[in-house]
Amino acid sequence: MLPGISTELTRLPGPLPVWHGVIDAADWQAAAIGVAQQGGRLVALWGSGGGDSRTPAVHAAYATSTGLTWLELPQAGSDASYPDLSGLFPFANRMQRAVRDLSGLNAAGAADTRPWLNHGAWPRNYFPLGDAASAQSMPDRGEVVDYSFVRVEGDGVHEIAVGPVHAGIIEPGHFRFSVVGEKVLRLEQRLGYTHKGTEKRFTELAPHQAYRLAGRVAGDSTVAFAWAYCMALESAAGCDIPVRGRSLRALLLERERVANHLGDLGALGNDAGLGVALAQFSRLKEDWLRLSRQLFGHRFMMDCVAPGGVECDLDGAGIAALIAQCDSIQREVQQLRAMFDEHAGLQDRFSGAGRVSPELAIRLGLTGLAARASGQSQDLRCEHAWAPYDSLAVNVATQSAGDVAARVAVRFDETLESLRLVRSIAADLPAGAVRVKFLLKRESARGAGWVEGWRGEVLVTLEVDGQEGEPRIRRCHCHDPSWQNWPVLEHAIIGNIVPDFPLINKSFNLDYSGHDL
């Protein structure tokens, strides 16, 4: 339900309010303006190829107070294009470039048309998600061309080029700093190094098996993506899952949130020179992962969320162990928080570093955890509380300073809140089955899964085709909130010194693999 558009939208089945509609270019533009004026957000933008009597299309998903609206704009003819959205939503720039690289669809009037995911490893006229005919599986190598970074010129300005192979144990990407002395004048990121054809791979897997691939879109968000994928598949099939399975999914998601916050809080302390924080938090994280291994069979709970429910269960002893661990970790986290708060040197590094003001956050479309540290109270677990969150009354953690200190505070608050949620879910686990078997209908269908992962909202949209033979995936798009937040990091670093970059970067801890796909 969007203001300003005339097209009738269809509600898709599923636990969250999701609407879909096929629109024309005028409505595409009107919807974008309407959402921007209403304070809604563009969640994702992607393309789909033609073939088999289908028209290629560009898709956009918007979040407003009424839910998620998935708009599809057909792109018939070789000269088709769609109106550029980057004027209203600046982060749409990279998504539009990715759509061009993967699907061959163009945003009319876009100022920046540099390739984004295509680094020259495949030809510019090969579109892996384009028409079936043009997307043969193994194209020739393309030509590696220089990427035109924006140059900063002036007296004493020089560039520092970092990556793609980074110095630490982190994912690959390239950062180009323009600095004068130690001060950063500009950062430009170049990503896409971990692009591994994930979305094309989806079309080669059976819908009931592809949840394993969704669980490997981003290793640190495996539960979030697997849940979103399964929600999309269940939505396409119009299937409900057992209440116990639903609760266990939420329990796994909150455990994933805690695991990541524990790891990052330690790393943040370490990046500011407090080594003991890393030792302490990494010890807690290891305890946490070991219990996951013991109870759910995998340290990161990969493949635990499966179509129709979950592939794990808890007995009385397991529940007791979970609750006891939440109690002990809570005590330790509170002690460590006191240690952080009282450490003047640490606070000096945290305060004011990498600041994103609430106004800037709104203008640039910052989302998720980082947005909550910049005064935005968005959190799907409250905005559209789906079961079991509708009965858990999640407290959204917010801060307004928008600096590293604020993001650290949000992580502490969210850790403690998720410990409460894990305890509450475990103590009140409904009886019954954890998983139900279901079949896709023998017709084309679409579904969407929308989940608040630890980094922010994760969206999976799925189109399945069941008309001939076995059902297959026609298109599966996975969206990580890092698409929105990477460009904001370029702003957050401006005016800070180079040695603070690792700290500021860690406070966002954005994803490469989930972004590059």
């Binding site: 192979v165 630490g168 144990i169 591994k196 290793g219 340290r299």
Partner: protein, 178 residues
């Protein structure tokens, strides 16, 4: 400061007194340390190259530094440059976008250029396979000494793999023990 000291004292040394399930691990890590010194006569330095992984393997590599595994205490260290590394540890189904960077990193590393491919993806491309965007396993791009399978392999398996690769060097006499 007082709080920090208290916290450290309260925690004790998890490496020395691991939980019961980890007794085997402690024996294992002691042995690894002895062997490393015996074979290399020095610390082992490793450069990680994430050549397209989902970040799952990196989470486990980071875990190797926690007090339970205390990898640096064993004399194994991740270094910032391939020029300082005895071993390259490579994760991911090598993406075509990382292919050149991986080759150049390999070229930059000094002999013996030990290469450990970590994870199912590093072995053969894993669930991502081989495509317009990926080369498949690490061995498709640079010579690999040993593979540690798993998705992701748990930290102790990675440690075991590191030791096995070093041992293999001894048996092949690529490096003379001092």
């Amino acid at each position: 400061m007082w709080n920090i000291v208290k916290q450290i004292a309260r925690t004790g040394r998890p490496t020395e007194a691991p939980p019961q399930a980890s007794d085997e691990l402690r024996v294992e890590t002691d042995r690894i340390q002895r062997e490393l010194l015996q074979i290399l006569g020095q610390a082992l330095t490793i450069r990680l190259v994430d050549a397209g992984s989902c970040n799952g393997c990196e989470l486990e590599l980071n875990a190797l530094g926690n007090p339970y595994y205390n990898m640096e205490g064993l004399g194994i260290k991740f270094v910032a440059s391939p020029r300082h590394a005895d071993m390259l540890l490579v994760t991911g189904p090598v993406s075509r976008n990382m292919e050149m960077a991986l080759k150049r990193t390999y070229d930059a590393a000094p002999e013996p250029k030990l290469v450990l491919a970590v994870g199912d993806c590093g072995r053969d491309g894993g669930i991502f396979g081989e495509s317009y965007a990926t080369c498949g396993g690490v061995a498709k791009v640079i010579p690999v000494d040993l593979v540690v399978p798993g998705c992701p392999p748990p930290p102790i398996e990675i440690l075991r793999g590191i030791l096995t690769a070093v041992r293999r060097v001894r048996s092949q006499k690529r490096v003379e023990p001092s």
